[in-house]
Structure formats: C-alpha cells, structure tokens
C-alpha cells in the first residue's frame, strides 16, 4: 500500500495509458495535438535551413508553446503533452502510424491532424525509407509475420539518455561547451593558410553545434515555465499552506535544474525527469526507461537522506518521492502504431530501469538508494516502471531480500539478469572497457547497454527489431509461401518439403528462410539509421552526449560504442520442439512421412488427432532431455551464426536476443499449425527460451539444466519465464529456497530469469470478477501488466504456464 496519503491520492487518480487488444483501457485517453501542431508550425517557418536547425527550432517551438500543467499533490512536475490524459503524436516519423491514430476514436482534432499528416507525408521517414525497397519487400515487412515492420513505419525506437552529463554538469555548462566548440571552429575556419580538406568538415559541425545551442536554451526556458507556473499557483490559487510551500519549493527546483547541476535528491529527480521527457517523448519518441537509477541518484540520495547536507529529507520522504516517480511513469503516455500497441498487451509502453550489480571500481552497486527504490516498488504496486536487477555473486543479501519481496508480492519483477555475464558480453563483443561495461543498464526489456556521459545507445536502429522464428519454420515447410495468414510468398523458394528426404533438408530450408529474413530486416534497420541521421536529427539528445559535442555530430549518426542486437520473438521453442518431433517421428522412427505431416498441418490436425498427439508427446525442451536439448543447441547456434554473416551500420554483427514481449500472443494467430503438436492460432512459447506452456514437466531444476546447455554467450540476452507457487514463496523457508534456486541459476551462467507468483485459482477468479482484482499484476514477458487489462486469450497463456514448487 502507498506509504503516504499523498501517494494514495495520486495512485487513486492515476491516469494509466494501458492498452488491451490494441486499444486504450481508460476511455478518457486522447491523442494530444499540441506537439504535432507546434513541430509543424516551426517546420513551415524553417524552410531552407539545415535539417538539424529545423529540428532544433521544432523542439524550441514545442517547448515554448505547449501547455504546461502541474497536478495536485505532485512532487515531480513536467509532462509530454498538454493534458495528463493525453499522449503526443509524431507526424514527422511515420505516416501510417499517424493516420492510424488520427482515424481512431482517440483523436478529437481530426481535421487539423489530417492536414498535419498530409503536410508531413512527403517529409516522413516512412516516405524516405520506402524508396529503397520494392513493393514486395514492403508487403512482407508490413505484414509483420516473419519480421517486424521497419522503424520508418513503426516509428518505434529506444534510447539510453546521458543522464550523467545533465546531472554532473547542468545544461548551462553544456551550453558553454557547445558555444566554445562553435568559437573554436570559427577560429579554425579563419586560420591561414586555407586548407579545404581540413576546414570544410567544420560546416556540418557548426550546424550541429548551433542546433544544440538552440535546443539547450529552449530546454532551460521550458523548465522556467514550470518554475513560474508553480509560483503563480502558490501565490494566487493555493489555499493550503503546506502545499503552497511545496509549490514554492518546486518553483525553486525548476529554476535551478536542469540548467545547473542538482543540489540534492529533489533536484536530481526533477532534472532526471525533465531529461527523460525530452529524450523519450518530446524531441522524438523512444521507448524504455534505461538508466542505472541507483547509481545516478546515489550521490544526491547520500547528500539529502544520509548526510542531510542539502535538501535534507527522511528516508520515508525519499520512498515517497520514488513512489511519485513510479506513478509519474504510470501516467506517462506514448503512442505507437497498432502493431506495437498489440505487442505491449496490458501495458502502455516498455519502461524498465536497472538496479544492483557492481560499480565501475568493482564495489557493490547496491546501496540504500537501491533499497529505497525497491521499498517504494513494493509499497505502491504499479506495473511501471519494471525493474531489472543485476544479480552479482557479491551483491548484498538485504537488497536481494527486497528483490524477493517484490517478486513474492506478485509484481513479476524485478526480472533478474546475470551481472557478470552481461558485463562480459559488452567487453568481449563490443570492446567496452571493463570499468565502463560494469555500469550497464538495460536499454529496453533485455539488452544491456552502456550508461554514462557518452557512447550510449540513441536509437533502436542500433539495437532492436524482431524476427519471428515460428513463422520462418512454417514457410520453410511451404517453400517460402504463407497460405495461412497472408497468402503471400514471404521468403525464397527452398523446395517442396513433401520431398524432403532427410532432416538436413529441413534444417537447410529453415536456414535459408532465416537468412533471407535477416538480410531484409537488418537492411531496413540500417537504411532507417542513415535516414535518422539525415532527417531526424536530435540536437538536445546530441547536446548531452560528450562524444556528439566533441565531434559535432548528431546522436543518430554517431556510433561510438556499437550495441547491435536483433530479437527472436516468441517461437524459438516451438521451432525446437517441432524439429525434435520431425527428426524423431519422420526421419528416425519413420512412423510418418513428410507428406503426411504437411497434410495434417494444412488441415490444422483435423482428422489427424492421434498423429497430433504423437507429435505433441515427442521430446520437449525444458525437461533436461538430451535428445531435444541437442536440437535446441544446434538451433540457437545456427541463428547466431546467421546473424554473424551481416555487418550493421556500426560496423559489427548483431547478437540475436531471445525474448517475446507479447509477440507470442500476437503472432500465435498469424502462425499456422506447427509440428510440435500446436494448433493453428494457438499462442507461441512465451520467452526466448521458456519451455512451451505446460511442456516442462520435470520441475524447475530440469528447466534450468536444459537452458544451461545453450551457449547464450552468443546472444544479447535470453528470456526465461518461470512460475513459482505462491504458498511456497510465502512460506517461512520461501526466501532461502528461492536464494538456493538463484545460486543454482547463477552457477549455471544463465542469462535471465523472471517469475510469476500467482495461483491459477486466483487468476481464474480474476477472470470471473475482475473488479475485485484491480491490483493483480502478472509478468507477460519483458514487462508486467495488470491481469484484468489483458485479453482473455492472453490471460489464458499465463495460467497455462507450469507452476513450480521448490519444495518438491
């Protein structure tokens, strides 16, 4: 329960933007028009100017004119739209995503927004990107069957903002740095003798630095608007003395930050929130809540809460502030095309912050700030932001106990990532110095990226986007054709599977379908990356990255530290189990032929139930069965090798990442019957390496043993869902049993694990009487959702997961 009356009130009136079945659950949610209006107005006034300056002036116009508001009880102020019920729109990104939203019930300014969408149509990243692909390629990608549609149509991105530079420097200092670079360049340009090759490069750099200066000034002026508003409310409207003092404090804080470095925790939290809004939502849209929060806030927490030297506050007040932060994130609205709204079933967006692990110097990264954040998480009970906890062998037990408490409560998070393994990945694959690698945080659900003053990930074109393996197997068995969902040729002709004579023929067809999809999706991502650098400059985001300021480059363009990955979403284990069944029943036991199998699949097993049960009962992953686990090893190695063939924008090959978001739900209905005994339209497996629902029958240790056989060092991450019995977790021995399990998990060098702790009975009861379960939360995949916000089909997939009891 919320720890204070304030956070109780804030939670009671929190304006969640959760989505179910692609639609917002709260009928009050609307599409805000102001961001779109003011970015368009500025664009019309900036014809002929360099694109980076157009973008800077667009941001300036938004921040100057967008309505600002402060809600009752708020301690952290600032929003991305003109009204707390709204989410912003980005007409400069994708025409499809914009027009889909304009024609939805959420847009109440249809005429104006239609005009804005049409104005932007030729300028959008979508229009620019489509020029480099054939219609057939676009049709394949837009069908979202084998690959995710490209960023230039989804408008989806993710970012790890350089919070550290804002908190250490303040924006006034950043502006001084940028102005010094302009002065330095001006002087260089005028030095004699004139050497063109040395000097002309300064032209682009000067444009970038000037755009950064415009953006920095605009942001500082925007914060002053909040300062003035707080003061106006305090002096003219607020009747409660306590709240009046709070508003005057807020006014003082917004006068100070982000222009200057924070003094204490209240300043730091406000400065971080402003930075978040700008980088994730106002300058452009990017998903995520990527930050190592207990690292960046620790100096301010220590000064305010422990030493009480500046902005002194009690620990209880700090917990209240973290509760406020969680509610602020819960209320934050983002917009996406319908495909991605479906993908985040029950959620609004992906917000994942990172805690724990170790510091750059190798000392324990958990501290009392970590514990206060976890205490607030346990008390306020919100789905957002989710938390990833970096599990290090040396991490302190009192923090791990808090992690356990949150999981036991049923939040579904923190999810646990192997600290040492993820640090090693950044060092080994991306040449990150070990000290910097140790400060990693998750960019989105599962992938680690560096944090700090420079080199952080700025766009999802660097890392992200999806491949859908179950569909790849389906078309591999149908010569590249999809007769179930699209009636299209989705991949190359890889042969009539009825004539496959050996298991290698199946592997070869799957490999070639995967290869085609990988080439197509990575090409679309890199084309998008170039276009982002050219047309979607982000001067503010660039201004807070030391590398961008030093080099005079846009954040989208600079790839100082590569971090490429690509998701294998939902279906890895459907593929593995299917391959095992084919190998055993067709090519080894010779009980069936490929022709019989393909006939049965085409008929969705109808009239072939006995045969289906044979395939359903064939060896399944997750039971420590060497037969199927060896196939899993080969499958995961093969996919990693296929990604290794390509080189991305940032010069290296992407690591695959196994996870599912809600893709296992959305892509189930797009995928025909599969040889693992699954029916057409049935959900896929729910993780990157989670056993298929109900197929792990030999207990939790057998699951870990199967998972541990896979060489996940070749992967960016590998999501494992586990369901634990609530009565076991709540028992006196619950923590010790779980800690032993976690020690086993860690000793097997497994990448990730996360837990649902809720009984099937409770979930079924919540289906019957949803009004009695408003706060029941479940882990879907890389995020958690309110159970009652999920569609029935999605709820059933969570009930179907095997519940394990560590006492057995």
């Amino acid at each position: 329960m919320a720890t204070t009356e304030r956070t109780k009130r804030l939670k009671a009136r929190c304006r969640y933007k959760h989505v179910a079945g692609g639609e917002y659950v709260d009928p009050a949610v609307r599409a805000g028009v102001e961001r779109a209006r003011y970015v368009t107005e500025a664009h019309k006034q900036c014809v002929g100017e360099p694109v980076c300056m157009q973008r800077a002036k667009g941001l300036e116009n938004i921040l100057k004119k967008m309505t600002v508001h402060i809600q009752d009880d708020e301690l952290i102020v600032g929003a991305n739209t003109e009204h707390p019920d709204y989410f912003p729109m980005y007409p400069e990104l994708s025409y499809f995503a914009t027009i889909d939203m304009v024609e939805s019930p959420y847009c109440h300014h249809k005429e104006e927004m239609r005009e804005i969408a049409e104005y932007w149509r030729p300028y959008t990243i979508q229009r620019k990107g489509e020029a480099y692909f054939t219609q057939e390629e676009l049709d394949i990608m837009y069908s979202a069957t084998t690959v995710q549609p490209p960023m230039f149509v989804t408008a989806f991105s993710s970012i790890m903002p350089n919070y550290e530079s804002v908190l250490e420097d303040g924006l006034e200092k950043r502006l001084e740095m940028v102005e010094a670079k302009i002065a330095e360049a001006d002087a260089e340009m005028r030095q004699s003798p004139w050497i063109a090759k040395d000097k002309l490069a300064f032209l682009d750099k000067i444009d970038q630095w000037k755009a950064m200066a415009v953006a920095l000034k605009a942001v500082m002026a925007w914060a002053q608007r909040y300062s003035r508003l707080a003061k106006i409310i305090a002096e003219n409207y607020e009747t409660d003395d306590t709240r009046r003092d709070e508003l005057l404090d807020i006014s003082d804080i917004c006068r100070h930050v982000p222009a200057k470095a924070p003094r204490g925790l209240r300043d730091a939290m406000q400065s971080k929130w402003f930075t978040y809004l700008l980088c994730h939502s106002i300058e452009r849209y990017s998903s995520g809540y990527g930050q190592k929060e207990d690292k960046i806030l620790w100096p301010f927490y220590k000064a305010s809460v422990i030493d009480k030297t500046v902005q002194p506050m009690t620990r209880e007040e700090a917990v209240e502030l973290f509760e406020c932060e969680r509610l602020k994130v819960s209320e934050h609205g983002s917009t996406k095309g319908r495909q991605l709204r479906e993908f985040f079933a029950g959620a609004n967006d992906l917000f994942i912050l990172t805690l724990g692990g170790i510091n750059a110097d190798g000392s324990d990264g958990s501290n009392d700030c970590t514990d206060a954040i976890l205490d607030a998480t346990e008390s306020i009970v919100t789905t957002e932001p989710s938390i990833a906890f970096r599990w290090n062998k040396s991490g302190r037990v009192e923090t791990k106990r808090r992690v356990f408490n949150c999981i036991k409560t049923g939040l579904g998070f923190p999810s646990i990532k192997n600290d040492e393994k993820n640090t090693e990945q950044l060092v080994k694959y991306f040449n990150v110095p070990e000290e910097k690698a140790r400060e990693w945080a998750l960019v989105l659900c599962m992938s680690p990226g560096v944090t700090g003053r420079r080199g952080t990930q700025k766009t999802r074109s660097e890392g992200g986007s999806d491949l859908y393996p179950a569909k790849l197997l389906e078309i591999a068995l149908n010569d590249g054709f999809d007769g179930f969902f699209t009636d299209m040729q989705l991949g190359p002709n890889t042969g009539d599977a009825k004539k496959f004579k050996k298991m290698e023929d199946v592997w070869d067809a799957l490999k070639m379908q995967s290869r085609f999809a990988i080439d197509l999706t990575i090409r679309s991502k890199d084309v998008g990356r170039v276009l982002e650098g050219k047309y979607l400059c982000c001067p503010f985001i660039s201004s807070i990255d030391d590398g961008c300021v030093e080099k005079g480059m846009d954040a989208n363009e600079l790839a100082e530290i590569p971090n490429p990955w690509h998701n294998l979403i939902g279906g890895n284990i459907v593929v593995v189990d299917s391959l095992a069944a084919i190998q055993k029943l067709i090519f080894e036991d010779k009980k069936y032929t490929m022709e019989e199998l393909l006939t049965a699949l085409a008929n969705n097993w109808e009239g072939h139930e006995e045969m289906r049960l044979d395939f359903w009962n064939a060896p399944k992953f997750g039971n420590d069965d060497p037969y199927v686990d060896e196939i899993a090893q080969r499958y995961y190695d093969m996919m990693a090798d296929e990604f290794k063939r390509v080189r991305t924008y940032s010069g290296t090959y992407p690591l695959p990442l196994g996870q599912s978001v809600a893709g296992y739900i959305v892509n189930g209905p797009k995928t025909g019957a599969t040889p693992n005994g699954r029916h057409a339209g049935e959900a896929l497996d729910d993780g990157g390496i989670s056993p298929y629902m109900g197929c792990d029958r030999k207990g939790p240790t057998a699951v870990l043993k199967s998972v541990a056989k896979i060489d996940t060092t070749k992967y960016k991450g590998m999501l494992l869902n586990q369901r634990m019995a609530p009565e076991m977790m709540s028992s006196d021995a619950g923590f010790d049993l779980w800690l032993s399990y976690m020690d086993a998990w860690h000793s097997m060098n497994i990448d990730h694990v996360q837990f649902n702790v809720i009984s099937s009975d409770d979930m079924r009861q919540a289906q019957k009487e949803p009004e009695k379960f408003p706060d029941t939360i479940v882990r879907v995949a890389g995020y958690s959702a309110k159970f009652i916000d999920l569609a029935r089909y999605s709820q059933d997939t969570i009930i179907a997961r095997t519940e394990h009891d560590l006492r057995n």
Binding site: T154, P669, G681
Partner: protein
C-alpha cells in the same frame, strides 16, 4: 480501424499498414491435452470503407 469484409467484425490491425488488419473472429476451443484453451485463426484482411 480495419474491418474484415467477410465477417464485418471490427478487428485489431497488428500489421504495419493501417489499411490492413487481422480478422480474429474464427476461434476454436483446444483439446484437453493443450494447457492453453483457445486458438485464434488470424487472417490478414483489407480495410473496407
């Protein structure tokens, strides 16, 4: 919002193109051997009207 021309039901549109949607009306109960209870046979459809 996309509408399936065959069944006329409103459907979600989990594709990149808002003029195309997914008909998810055809549902089937699964046998007891499956831990999930429901399958949805999606079909990509063109928006009508």
């Amino acid at each position: 919002m996309a509408t399936c021309k065959d069944c006329k039901h409103i459907t979600p549109s989990p594709t990149g193109d808002p003029s195309k949607g997914v008909c998810i009306q055809q549902r089937s109960e699964l046998p007891k051997t499956q831990k999930t209870t429901m399958a949805i046979k999606g079909k990509m459809v063109k928006k009508v009207g």
